[in-house]
């Protein structure tokens, strides 16, 4: 279908973009458009104005900043998955980026766009949550840092305020001894995750020193599998890991849709978490 009418502006700077956004509460940011344009075509969204930030250099690129990697909001999934800096500093992000949709969509779709869209079925939110990323938002009021745990508020809702634009995300480097995996369960190759699990596991002397687990599509926002994370801490590698992963769906409220009912999603969360943790720990 053809989208409903809207105005289009292409600001020359982030400050101008923020102003355009602040002056019209029905305006929306257009990044790569790979989530927004389908919504417009299906007439599920009716923004008054699209503020196209796609050409703002301030939002582009991936930067090694010592103790963290800064991924610009307009870095595409394709750039992220190929980036040497991301692969070295936060490999889980690169791994998961390769699971997003398909090659053509990864050429346009952006890291920041998929996070600001705050779709709990998207792959990136759970990954950034698991890695305790820090969101950097800019507006006329200046710069604000938002911890990942506070960024995702509800279904398709982030804590970005009026006039605030996501500039990028700081992903802390985890250092030595960590392994990573993203396990995605979906019906067809390019489909959304029915459930996804992002796991980062630190091994030490044959045991798990620390585990961080983010769950995709297990509630209105991405969530951490806290109970499993605690249970895994200090656990020796072996069959008992499966037991710890039985807690993966605790305190979640998974959605019900055409593809899966909540009980099936809880089952998937347990099974996929076990796979993700074992693979991340290097014991497949």
């Amino acid at each position: 279908m053809i989208p409903a009418q809207f105005e289009y502006v292409r600001p020359g700077s982030l400050a101008e973009a923020s102003q355009a956004l602040a002056s019209d509460e029905d305006a929306k940011v257009l990044a790569g458009g790979q989530s927004l344009l389908p919504l417009l075509r299906l007439r599920l969204a009716y923004p008054s104005t699209l503020v196209d930030v796609g050409r703002l250099d301030e939002l582009k690129g991936v930067h090694d900043r010592g103790d963290h990697v800064f991924i610009g909001a307009m870095a595409t999934h394709d750039e992220v998955m190929r980036s040497d800096v991301v692969n070295a500093g936060c490999p889980l992000v690169a791994l998961a980026a390769a699971h997003v949709a398909d090659p053509a969509i990864r050429h346009r779709g952006t890291f920041g766009g998929s996070l600001a869209h705050a779709d709990p079925a998207g792959d990136m939110p759970a990954v950034v949550l698991a890695l305790d990323g820090v969101f950097v938002a800019r507006s006329a009021r200046g710069e604000r840092e938002i911890p990942a745990a506070d960024f995702f508020v509800d279904y398709l809702e982030s804590s970005l305020g009026p006039g605030e634009i996501l500039a990028g995300v700081k992903i802390p480097k985890l250092g030595e001894g960590w392994g990573f995996h993203y396990e995605k369960f979906h019906r067809t190759a390019q489909a959304w995750a029915i459930v996804g699990v992002a796991a980062a596991v630190k091994r030490s002397n044959g045991a798990i020193a620390e585990a961080r687990i983010g769950l995709t599509n297990m509630g209105p926002t991405p969530v951490r599998a806290r109970a499993t994370e605690s249970a895994l801490q200090g656990m020796e590698l072996g069959d008992q890991i499966r037991q710890a992963c039985e807690e993966a769906a605790a305190d979640t409220s998974p959605p019900s849709d055409l593809h899966a009912q909540p009980d099936f999603r809880r089952h998937l969360a347990r099974v996929l978490t076990h796979r993700a943790v074992r693979t991340a720990a290097g014991t497949p």
Partner: protein, 160 residues
């Protein structure tokens, strides 16, 4: 109404476009490039795949205004002097189509895949084409065609 400049299949166009005009509609309805079909309304099928500044995109998921200043290559821009591109020829030789609706997108996605891997394995091809749906063939002949197209293109590159 924004005015955009866009190069399509080597020809430069200046067009006044409504912001909501999709790139695929610009190509088909304004520029007559009907070789690029619209297959779905959900960004799933990949039939409308074109190259935008050298990378595959689904032209139903790009606004024409976003393509301002860009270079677009459609299925109609692949052949040279009336002869088919090696990948098009390979799809013909391997009978990689039945109804043909997905074919333009498949060919564009296949050429894009070869930028990355000039000699892709069957598995790589299946992954590389995961954004393109074919409801007729079962994909076997498409995979064969991409293998053959890759070999032909490799030969063309290494020719003196």
């Amino acid at each position: 109404m924004p005015r955009i400049t866009v190069t399509v299949d080597g020809v430069k166009y200046e067009e006044d476009v409504e912001p909501r005009l999709l790139l695929v509609h610009l190509l088909r309805e304004r520029l007559g490039k009907t070789g690029t079909p619209v297959g779905c309304d959900t960004s799933n099928c990949g039939a409308c795949t074109v190259m935008l500044d050298g990378k595959s995109v689904k032209s139903c998921s790009v606004l024409a205004v976003q393509a301002d200043g860009c270079d677009v290559v459609t299925i109609e821009g692949l052949g040279v002097n009336g002869s088919m591109h090696p990948m098009q020829q390979a799809f013909h030789e391997e009978h990689a189509l039945q109804c043909g609706y997905c074919t333009p997108g498949m060919v564009m996605a296949a050429i894009d895949l070869l930028r990355d891997d000039p000699d892709p394995s069957e598995e790589r091809i299946r992954h590389g084409l995961e954004g393109n749906l074919c409801r007729c063939t079962g994909y076997c002949n498409i995979v064969r065609a991409v293998r053959r197209g890759a070999q032909e293109m490799g030969r063309a590159v290494t020719m003196p």
